[in-house]
Symmetry: C3
Amino acid sequence: MGEIGAKLEALGLVLPPAIQAPAGIRLPFAPVLVRGNRAFVSGHVPQEASGAIARPLGKLGRELTVEQGYHAAALTALSILGSLRRALGDLDRVQSWLRVFGMVNSAEGFHQQPAVINGFSDLILELYGPERGAHARSAVGMAELPFNIPVEVEAEVEIRA
Amino acid sequence: MGEIGAKLEALGLVLPPAIQAPAGIRLPFAPVLVRGNRAFVSGHVPQEASGAIARPLGKLGRELTVEQGYHAAALTALSILGSLRRALGDLDRVQSWLRVFGMVNSAEGFHQQPAVINGFSDLILELYGPERGAHARSAVGMAELPFNIPVEVEAEVEIRA
Amino acid sequence: MGEIGAKLEALGLVLPPAIQAPAGIRLPFAPVLVRGNRAFVSGHVPQEASGAIARPLGKLGRELTVEQGYHAAALTALSILGSLRRALGDLDRVQSWLRVFGMVNSAEGFHQQPAVINGFSDLILELYGPERGAHARSAVGMAELPFNIPVEVEAEVEIRA
């Protein structure tokens, strides 16, 4: 199972299956693209353990509270970890997190994007520790996101070949 | 001409010349920055074959339909391919697409960013095939874009030295 | 002091200390993440020389003029240079700028993002020159930014090990 898999289990966390594109939507790209010791992670959405897009949908500062946004960001981390496990076989192959780009669907006047994306960063740091889990990050406010999701995260990680 | 150049010609597609900055606008950056086996591609705009910024301008969900946005995304791919050819000499030197960041000028309530950026992904996959053309991707909604363009795409590719 | 440090001094420019998170805000990420010959730079904000978030806050096209945005982008460059100096010891270790992602807090109808982010590019080019300072760039309009800052910049640079 590996170290990270064991930590996930100890925390009672389940990684969702690959996202199913809603009816009529094509997603012609790789969830994770691996080249040499780098893995580029596509923008991911908050998923429930079943694989469905998590609820509630909408904007921070309008339909969602900061607490709900924080939870959505944590679910987005689980979605990315699911894709990384399918791409790499084992989450222990992630040697280091590099870049996290956190996008928050933001209503007019909402400025707490960092508090929302902390739901992502906190979980990655808990799983990978302060060395491997450290990452550069932006947390910014988007006008709209696909499917009206509240949070989307893109990332880059270094992997062991 | 190379393999990709021949495919472009067979499809009747013409790569535009470098963008001309509108009067009074300085663009003090490199369209493509090459270091070792990596090329960083600046945010590009939809261009007509003449080089001018393509019409219509405006937001998806207000001035443009999804079909028009899809077309604008394909024109953005041609703009990037033009810059890559000028920087690399030959589009066959693009060994692999890595990351595509698709930005859609989005009116309130527009959530079909993936269907728009598919105009970019579909053309890259048609030209480079499912191996070299595969890419990690985000497709997200911006509040505004320069010159009121409907789509902007930033990318990273791996190249043969 | 090094070449870049000497240029900063000759220009009368002072690098701010690390940003202090406003009360109640955690920022659990690295301002700069270094791996091998690459440094990933987190989204940075305009800082005054004292370290505080620079004023005025707000959106381009509403609270700020293009000139004020240009100045905010230059202050964001100084903020990033401060973080790079703390991470690398010496700004001369930045061998080449690679990617600059310029985010502008944009009111409805504001389309001059490039003119704003030129405040960043111009300073980097003045300090590092046209070879090492050249960079790929996007300059785009965000719905909202943390703390209501007008400009945020994320970047990637190549460094000497």
